[in-house]
Every structure is written in structure tokens, then in C-alpha cells.
Symmetry: C2
Subunit: 369 residues, 2 copies
Amino acid sequence: MTTTTATRRDFLKTATLAAASLPLAGLWPRAARAAEPGRKLGFALVGLGSLSTHQIAPAFQNTQHCRLAGIVTGTPAKAARWQAQYNIPEQNIYNYATMDRLADNPDIDVIYVVTPNALHAEHTLKAARAGKHVLCEKPMEVSSEKCQQMIDACQQAGRQLAIGYRLHFEPNNLECVRLAREKVFGELQMIQAGFGFRMGDPTQWRLRKALAGGGPLMDVGIYALQATRYLTGEEPESVSAVATTTDHVKFAEVEESLVWQLKFPSGVIASCSTTYAFGGMRGYRAYAEHGSFGLDPAYEYDGQQGTRSDGQAIALPHMDQFALEMDDFAQCILNNQPTRVPGQEGLRDIKIMMAIYEAARTGKTVALS
Amino acid sequence: MTTTTATRRDFLKTATLAAASLPLAGLWPRAARAAEPGRKLGFALVGLGSLSTHQIAPAFQNTQHCRLAGIVTGTPAKAARWQAQYNIPEQNIYNYATMDRLADNPDIDVIYVVTPNALHAEHTLKAARAGKHVLCEKPMEVSSEKCQQMIDACQQAGRQLAIGYRLHFEPNNLECVRLAREKVFGELQMIQAGFGFRMGDPTQWRLRKALAGGGPLMDVGIYALQATRYLTGEEPESVSAVATTTDHVKFAEVEESLVWQLKFPSGVIASCSTTYAFGGMRGYRAYAEHGSFGLDPAYEYDGQQGTRSDGQAIALPHMDQFALEMDDFAQCILNNQPTRVPGQEGLRDIKIMMAIYEAARTGKTVALS
């Protein structure tokens, strides 16, 4: 087995070349552009849970165009801790009642919404009305209607809206996209993708339907769904699904495990799985006429690695995905260019996931428009 | 990573212990019994295609209780070649018109049916009427009705009928059954299983619906289906499925690729795939509460190997599966004991596969009785 490795410079060089010549250009990181040199956009994080604490806040150190300028939290103790740790000015600290006043704060350019799923629209709308650009964590919201409201609000405010699909910036995933689109192993035929983990804490908001909108599908299955879409470059035309629950106490409101199948216009079929019942399912494999390739793990914050049926490894250097994602959004804003992960991309996933739930509920294949 | 290996003696010892104490006893090889010492049952092979030529005929050398005593073939040149190679007496060579005369031949005890799927009933019925026991290759037939006719015919003749499910005798598969049934990683939650290959020869009888009854599902997908059933020890209660065809010339009569989902009474869901479009999909993985295990490859004539999430390998010694299967059937006959792979087992798979086709055709979940 040989190993494909490259430096960050190599990767960006490749990415730039690819961006100039391939239809998947939209998926590749842009090389840094010299727009308003030295200007870093001020981000305010809304919701200081685990993701903000352990991933996003530290990632600012790895960005070129972003700075952690403010926070919105309902927990005064967190506000004090973050203020001290990140040297956040007093006037850039908000709670959910005061965040409307962001409109008066020119130090904040972007609101990064990291609250529970069913609060994304509320916080995005507030941010848009305050004239801020919005980066919103996935899943975008818990219904298509609320996603559309978010898109409309940002459009009306003349501000950009991006969804936190960090894997669109992850080199190993992009390499798999390249293998698929360049048909390195021939035409794609089938994709198998799954992501899940064993949910330990029964008090998690992710188990409450009102806040999460659904179970593991909304939380981690969305990565498997995304993979099938960025590997094929197509939109699924129909979906079937089966859900199961064995622990009816912990999973009284949302599904415990779910498997679904997508059919794409080219004839590719995808078989996907998600769960809160067990770990270890964390990758995807794409099968083409003359070979296969995939990542395992594929979706984590770090550690992506993969294999190809010709014996080559997929082992591009790991990069801070949150930093890449935020820097890309900052550049889109600074250069007034569209993001590759707009609200429409988030809405598309929500529509498909709602169809998956419908298919599981009715036992019927659901056609997607 | 440590490796679990064992000698054949160890394996049979374990198997014997397990047979005495576990509900899966029926799946374990029986230790040899001293019935009619020295007596080897005479087998006649019906259909001298690739499987008979390259796997079954050579396997007789590895049996203790079986001998290749006769053949039934429609090709005189093959008859001559086999007669010479295996020293088969002239009077034990039949064609499809003369095989009724098997009734007068006490040298033949068992007919092993290795013809195209849609001929299994015809040849099984002829064998049963001639008073012979029947070992029939999988899939049992192309419809439930024909399977039932086979079961009835053998029962009326007072002869045994077994289906060639060789993996019920394969040590690494049996080890996975043990891991599942003994709940080594806790309760089973989900199974992913797939088997396929790229069909090169467009003139294959396997691409003709009238002979094959279906496409890759009937041919190799059945192994994935079997795996979900022997791992869970349950019968699925419902199935959904999606079929796809991209090459409409080669696959004018049968499906090219198919994915299906099974739900079991315990709540376990299985996500399965099969194809004639590409290779490389050849294993299964079972996910339980606290870990996972599986084989890749799982279904081949040789080379099974597997991994467990605790880092142990599954690497029991490879054995001649056809020899194990034939010896077990011979012992069942000699000792007048039921086979672990009876016609009812074959019928069950056919019923499920017909439901899978119905689900793919209608886009609706099909309940299984």
C-alpha cells in the first residue's frame, strides 16, 4: 500500500488547479485572496455548548480572516468565563433578550448560530434583522418552512447565510469527490454510508423532538446524506426508509436507529444508516464499475483516512475544518462572492430528511421534487 | 491486534461443546459419528458447470462419508471427460432423458442438483421419485410454489432434502453467529451485508430471468440475506427495497443492483446490497450495543477473515465448505437425523426474496408472514 500525502501548500495548489478546470470547483477551498488586507471579520457565537467550547472557539486561532469578537449566551457564568478566556469586550457580550442590540455593534460582522436545531431560525432571523451575516450549524432547522424563513430573512437583509458543512472543506472528503467526479474507477454505481454513536446522556437536548426535530438522522445521519450528495453531485429522486427503536424510554421522542435508501437520476443507489444505539459506524464507501474507495472515519473533526481498491491510501493532511469553513465564509463576505454551502444547501437536506421520516412512517417510497 | 486461531480439532471440540449448551446447536458441525463404519454414500452430480467442475467434484477428496459415484449431464463430451477423470462407472452416467432410471441404481444414494435455478424442481422431483436423497444448490428455486413441490416430493418419497448453504458449516461465519448469539458485544442492533461482482459474460444463464428467476439477489444477494438470518436467529417481519439498472442491454431481464432493508422482531434492522455491476462488496458487519464484528470477505469458497471492534481478528482455519456440507448431509442420512439446512430453509429465503422484488417493484414495505 502506498500513501498519498501532501503538504497544505500542495493541497491548496491542487485545489486551485482543480477549481480552474473542474465542475466541482465550488467544493474546493479558495486560495486566500488579498481583499481588505489585514481586516478580520468579527464573529459572535450564539450558544456556548460543547461544540462552541471545544471546537469552534479554539479554531479561531487557525483562521486568517476571522476573530472571536462576541458571544450570545443565556448563562451568565459562561459569559464571565468566556469573557476572561477570550478577552471579549464587555459590550460584545449578549444574552438572548439583548441580542437584538447587535444591530448597533459594528464590531460584529458574522453571527455563528450553534444553538439547538429548533432555535436556528429564531437566532438567524434576529441576526439578519441586526444586519449580520449568518453561519448556522447543521442541521439548518427542523422544517423546510423555517429554513425558507432563514433564507428569506438573510436575503431581505442583504446578508449572506452559510450552513456549517465543514466536510465541504476537508481534504480527504474532497479527494473522494475528485475520485467520483473524475471517474477514476469508472461510473459510480452504489454508495454505502453510515454515521452514528451511542448516546449516553439521556437528558441531552438531542433526544427532545421539540428541540432536535428528530433523532440521529438530523444530528449525524445528515453527514451520510451529505456524502451521497457530494459524491454523486446529484439530487436524489426518491427515498425509502426503515426506523427502529429498542430502548423506548431513552428514545420516547426520536428514532433510535434508521436506515434509508436513495435513488439518484444516474441510477446510483445509496444505502445509508444512522443510530444513537451504537458506535463504530463512521464512514462511507463508493463503488464504481472498476473499483471502490471511501473513508473510515469520514466525518469526524479530525482523523479522516481512506482506502482505494487499487491499494492506494487516501491520507491527505488533516486541517482545522472549522477554521477552513469560517475563513471561506469570511472571504465570501469580504469579496462579495457566494458561499459553496448556502442556506439552499441546508434546506435541501431538510427536505430530504423529512421525506426519509415520511418514508419510514408510511412504509412507502417518497418521490423528491 | 491478536489473532484467534485454532486447529480443526479445537474447532470441532468447541463446536461439540457449543452444540451441547447453546440454542445455535443446529448451526454447528456435528462431530463425526460411527454409523455404518466405512460406508460412503454415492453422490451423483446433476449439472456439470463451473461450480461442479471447480468446487464440488474436487471436494469429494476431502469428505469422509461421500464419494462421487455418478453424473447427469446433457453434454456427451463432458460425460466422457468426467468418466475418465473420476473413474465413474459407465452405468452411473446419465443424461436428462435417462435420469429416471436412477431408481434402478443402488450405487447412487444422493443427487446433488447443480443446474440453473429454474431447473432445480424438475431435477429434484425426478431424484425424489427415483428414491434418492437430494442436496440442491441455492437458490432453491425461482418461486415458493416450486420450492414447496420439492419439499412435498422428498417428503412423500421418504427422502431428505438439503439446500447447499455451505456457510452454515464455515468456521468464521459460525464464530460470528456465536458472537451474536452469546451477545459478546451486547444486543445486536444493526447488520450491514453486501455481496456482488461484476458480471462479465453477457451470455450467462444468470442473466436470463426464465432460468435464474432474478438477478444478483437470487445468485449472491442470498448470501447477505442468509447472513442477516443466521446472525439474528430471527425471521424478518418486513422488507423494503430499491433496484437499479444502468446497463439496460446486459440487464434487460434481471436487476443490475439492488439494496434492501429488513426489520426483525427484536428491532434489529439489516441493510443489504447486491450487484452484478461491480466487485469489492463481499462482507458483512454486525453492530451491537458495545461493539461490532464482521467478515470481509464473508461468503467466498475460501479466505474468510474478520475483525472485531475490540481489536481481535476472526481467523479460524479455512476448511473445504463443500466437503463439510456433503459430509454433514451424508451423516444426517446415515443417522436418520434432520439436516440443519432443509428445504424449508431454502423456501424461506425464496419467500423473502420474492417480497424484496415486490417491494422494489411497488415502492412499498412488504410484510412477511
